[in-house]
Symmetry: C2
Subunit: 130 residues, 2 copies
Amino acid sequence: MQDHPVARLIAAADDAINAGDFDRLMDFYAEDAVLVVRPGLNACGKAQIRQAFSAVSAHFNHSLQVSQDALHILHNGATALALARTRLRADTLDEACRDATYVFAQDQDGAWRCAIDNAYGHRLLEEPSV
Amino acid sequence: MQDHPVARLIAAADDAINAGDFDRLMDFYAEDAVLVVRPGLNACGKAQIRQAFSAVSAHFNHSLQVSQDALHILHNGATALALARTRLRADTLDEACRDATYVFAQDQDGAWRCAIDNAYGHRLLEEPSV
């Protein structure tokens, strides 16, 4: 795991998800961020993203736990690409591992925010483009 | 293939690579862009990126041809993530297919430029983080 501000943010966001604290989680997202809820369905903006996390959490009986088995960050100026192997656990889920892709952008105050959150990585290519 | 400005740029950049026109190719990159030359080795900035493309082209006896079999673009404000299945052909290469990840950012004039070019996708996670 790299010692990059974005790596620390991802770890802190995982903590917020694992605690079910979606208010705190929203601090990690840009106002107009995009979250891939599932292939073909995106949540756009904090309100939709918060709603999506609440629904996913309820679906897994509030037992969802997220962690990163591996992380590699590529960084250019105010843009960072995080490639992750993301592990999901829940009471009602066989443990799952996903090749996730996150894009972070630095805002005018220098703070990094998640702009694009795609836990499905290249699996999106298996679906028709939308 | 999506009708997105970034999709058109990727197609035009492929044309420039296939024509061996690396001056034209540099128009597609941000000044401080990062190119993953191979896992563990990055080229940073246009001068290094141009040099890397020249070296790769010479390695393949100037026969390298690049195309995208599939492309999916996620777009947030001034940031776009392109997930691609990139096909490489060359005289001295068995045809290869890579799950590539490109990040584009819009500059102040509204033009999209490639900020991060990672043709290796999640293969970077198989290497030690650098």
